[in-house]
């Protein structure tokens, strides 16, 4: 089997399960994870995002490869995971109780 992500992002391979399509599913994965799991993914993904800004700026969305698509999904997951790690200190939004806001329309990629 080939790599899940483009070669520059090999460090992300152990976190391939974060390449989840759709905000709703990514959020569900976030709230069902522990802070340790979120932190571990964040600690690898955040520096990669920082180092490879230019790669992403040159990444066209037309005819995007499967590897790049999964890379974007993983970074979208990083966006979701950044809230617990950088702000909340817990997977759920504080004081959000049982409430949910669900994505019902999303971009194709």
């Amino acid at each position: 089997m080939g790599n899940v992500f483009p070669p520059d992002f090999a460090a992300l391979e152990p976190f391939a399960d974060w390449a989840v399509r759709g905000e709703r599913a990514r959020y569900a994965k976030r709230v069902s994870s522990t802070m340790e799991e979120l932190q571990a993914f964040y600690d690898v993904a955040y520096p990669l995002l920082q180092q490879h800004t230019e790669y992403l700026e040159n990444l066209s969305l037309d005819g995007i490869s499967d590897e790049d698509k999964r890379l974007l999904w993983a970074f979208c997951a990083l966006v979701t995971v950044a809230f617990p790690v950088e702000a909340w200190g817990q997977p759920r939004v504080p004081d959000s109780g049982p409430s949910s806001i669900d994505a019902v329309v999303e971009p194709a990629v």
């Binding site: 955040y46 700026e57 066209s60 950044a82 939004v93 806001i101 669900d102 994505a103 019902v104």
Partner: protein
Amino acid sequence: MAHFPKPSEGSWTEHFKIDTGPVSYADSISPEFYELERDAIFRRTWLNVGRVEQLPRKGSYFTKELDAARASVVVVRGTDGEVRAFHNVCRHRGNKLVWDDYPREETKGTCRAFTCKYHAWRYDLEGKLIFVQQESEFFGIDTSKYGLMQVQTEVWEGFIFVNLDPENTTPLKTYLGKFAQGIDGYPFHKLTQVHKYRAEIGSNWKLFIDAFAEFYHAPILHAGQYESGEAAKIKKYGYEALSYDIDGPHSMVSSWGGIAPPKEKAMVKPIERVLRSGLFGPWDAPDIGMTTEELPPAINPTRNEVWGMDSFVFFPNFMLLIWRPNWVLTYHYWPTSYNTHIFEGTCYFVPPENGFQRLQQELAAVTFKEYGLQDGNTLEATQTMLESRTVDQFPLCDQEVLLRHLHTTTQNYVREHQLRNAEAPVS
């Protein structure tokens, strides 16, 4: 300490001649009042049900559940390219005409005609009845009399509105008034990248508008969204709008730019720093064919250099937010009972040119959602305590002027409706 000038009366509330006394919120906790609102407001005013981009082709359609108005409508682009709306009711025995597996869920698609699931009566895209199963069994049926019931439909800047009251002949643009006129020309059609969210909220619809029509709560309820040193500074600073305005039932608040981009990068969270994006959207505004200075006059009405965004409240339930970095957010609040409603929040961006821009937009959309979760859940706490009727007089500050206006307007609509009905001859 005042940061921005106020009208000569000393406050916005007095300037707009709105009462400054405490408010009761009886209009948000009463099943009886809600029943009145349904007829007085949701069956009588122009309601935004979607955008023209949702109907890309001839035969494209979507349904919209208007529970508060006791209606479901199907909105469709006809073979002539026109956008029309019909009551979603079959003329034979009243079945719901367009739905998928779940009759209460909204749906969308493309078709050449609408066929009823019950006995296969068929209607063309203009609503004409074109097929009756075993027509000869009927009693000289005149099919021209059994077309779909059409609903008034008008489009403003790509936003599709319906009006269920055949007697309300006020054109949409007249109803939307000076704010809409002053927004005309904003290139909404370029903002076709859509992230849409939906939530069921356990509060009266007006309470959520209240939460989004003031930013007085932002430094407090959302303090956790900021770097902690920053949160303390923001709390001390408090919140003041650049300006407020009211036009008939509608209102708006114009706000300063927050932290996008921040003076120092240390002010924002690491993810915002690396993606150059956040609550106020991607910091680098995409080209929409006009500069901030060239935006239509109702946007940044005070032409303030520190302007960041405007929130327009189009009565009853449509809010339009225009952000300095050239993106748009809309809110809809669809009542389902006196203490529940469905909230919709939709982000509109210029389509991203690359993977990085896609991530910048994701961060803006997700930030809105994280805030929304805090707002929505807080409202359930508010609703239950209002319903306890322990307290029935609540003071509102000048930064909450739009709330007073919303509740006053709602009560006026209901009162006028009651007067009209009282005057109407008994039939």
